[in-house]
């Protein structure tokens, strides 16, 4: 028996009122709007970074031309409410839910929203059976959309969405250390592996890009950590000073590589690098790197109790 006055070992769940009141229709409508906005409007932090990059390129250069087209594209997509990029990518949903929230119902609502957004042209038909080659036509199928649920002790549901195109996904990589070309199991080895990824990715993942890096973990958790880094704001500072230093060095060095926007040559190769670290088993040392293109489609919402959108997050 617990001593009187001692805190209970497990905090009792705080059941939120939204569990009972959220309607499927309202939730689905919110998710369609989240998809529409994510596909057609870049978040402010990314737009600011693209603008700054344009200022860094020599007038009349191919790099300046590329960034000028990119900026015009950002404006057009927003005005026309049409996809920034025709590759509307993998649909990655990160969902924080209160204790007791029905995640299965959310999953169904997300699938319905994805189908509706596809029919309206906010999403391309992007879900292909890997064995038969058949396109499901509605972006729903095994692994599509990709939902990552987490419980939290807030009373509301938070939904973050990334649309990650195949061109940039293809140039992500997992490195293992030690490696004779990059170095040992230390920050030097990590930094050199990341810079090799930048070199290999050139031109193919539409640059200037943004890297998410997961140091450690296993082959799944390391890459999951890398992708989750992309949920951070581009202009945030990593609270870990060692990782903050690594992020800054990678961006500075990548931007001295001369790869430039679209691999045309130029001053801006990366708009950002965000790194996280996980513990690893003694035998493994993975550096997992995910590359995000300039068309960095990420948005998020806090949902109101009725399923409507209470707040935009980016």
């Amino acid at each position: 028996m617990e001593a009187a006055g001692a805190a209970p070992l497990v905090e009792p769940p705080r059941r939120s009122t939204m569990l009972a009141t959220m309607s499927d229709a309202a939730l689905q409508a919110s998710l369609v709007e989240l998809i529409r906005r994510t596909s057609t409007q870049l978040p402010d932090d990314v737009v600011r970074a693209v603008r700054a990059a344009r200022g860094a390129e020599a007038a009349g250069s191919n790099a300046a031309y590329a960034l000028e087209v990119i900026e015009r594209n950002i404006g057009l997509a927003c005005d026309k409410s049409q996809p920034l990029c025709q590759d509307t990518g993998s649909i990655l949903l990160y969902v924080n839910t209160p204790v007791g929230y029905d995640q299965i119902a959310f999953h169904h609502a997300a699938e319905a929203a994805v189908r509706a957004a596809t029919a309206r042209g906010y999403l391309r038909q992007n879900s292909v059976d890997s064995i038969t080659g058949a396109n499901s036509g509605d972006n729903v199928g095994p692994g599509c959309p990709d939902l990552h649920f987490h419980q939290w002790r807030q009373p509301h549901v938070e939904v973050k969405l990334m649309l990650k195109g195949g061109g940039c996904e293809n140039v992500g990589a997992t490195y293992t250390l030690p490696n004779p070309s990059f170095g040992g199991r230390d920050l030097k080895g990590v930094e050199n592996a990341i810079l090799d990824c930048v070199l290999q990715a050139q031109g193919q993942g539409c640059g200037p890009g943004i890297l998410g890096v997961g140091i450690g973990g296993d082959r799944v958790t390391g890459m999951a950590c890398a992708k989750a880094q992309l949920l951070r704001l581009l202009d945030d500072a990593n609270p870990d000073p060692v990782l903050a230093g690594l992020e800054q060095r990678v961006v500075a060095k990548a931007n001295q590589s001369g790869i430039g926007p679209m691999g045309f040559g130029g001053a801006t190769t990366l708009l950002g690098c965000k790194a996280g670290a996980l513990n690893r088993v003694p035998a493994s040392f993975f550096v997992s790197i995910t590359y995000m293109c300039w068309a960095f489609r990420r948005q998020g919402v806090d949902l109101a109790a009725d399923g409507g959108i209470a707040r935009w997050l980016y």
Binding site: Q86, L199, G265
Partner: protein, 190 residues
């Protein structure tokens, strides 16, 4: 930068006159063709359209049907390097004069450009609205069984903007940038 206007079909002379760094604007017909189309052509299937003098666009557009007509909602380039094993063959067998894509291609394609008189045109990756704005009509579609992004869409474009990054004289901007950046990053190693 002076812009060179191009009209399809392209002649061999026109294709061979273009040089790395040229900015062009294309008016006329583009056929989309990406992974599955190249795979089929490689296995000897006859293309459903006449590609002679034509331009293949590495693109999987977003298409929706509105009032019985196809409307293009977004249509930027996809990564071209995946077609590296096949592209030279399409130049040889089907007489294409231009390839539009992004990221550039490798030595086989560059050799194909030299041998058969073709040019690689770089559109701006991710700029699907800037590209779609120049697509004034969707005139048809073939091989829809491959799924919409992989089908052959018959696009009519007006002043579609590209930069020549691989030419018929063996020039490749991609090879240049790769070599220079490899050297620069080697010097910056931690």
């Amino acid at each position: 930068m002076a812009v060179i206007p191009l009209t399809t079909p392209l002649t061999e002379d026109i294709a061979r006159s273009l040089t790395v760094g040229d900015t062009v604007e294309i008016t006329g017909r583009l056929y989309t063709g990406r992974d599955a189309v190249h795979h089929r052509l490689h296995h000897g299937e006859r293309p459903p359209v006449d590609l002679r003098g034509g331009i293949i666009y590495h693109c999987g557009p977003v298409m929706v049907q509105e009032g019985g007509r196809w409307v293009c909602k977004a249509a930027g380039p996809t990564t071209s390097t995946r077609e590296e094993p096949y592209q030279w063959e399409v130049m040889r067998d089907h007489g294409i004069r231009g390839v539009i894509g992004k990221g550039g291609m490798g030595p086989k394609t560059l050799e194909g450009c030299q041998q058969y008189g073709c040019v690689y045109l770089h559109a701006i990756g991710g700029a699907a609205q800037v590209c779609a704005e120049r697509i004034t009509r969707v005139d048809g579609v073939d091989w829809m069984d491959l799924g919409s992004p992989e089908a052959i869409w018959h696009l009519w474009v007006e002043r579609f903007p590209c930069i020549v990054t691989m030419d018929s004289r063996g020039g490749s901007l991609h090879r240049q940038v790769r070599a220079a950046s490899e050297q620069a990053l080697a010097a910056l190693k931690a």
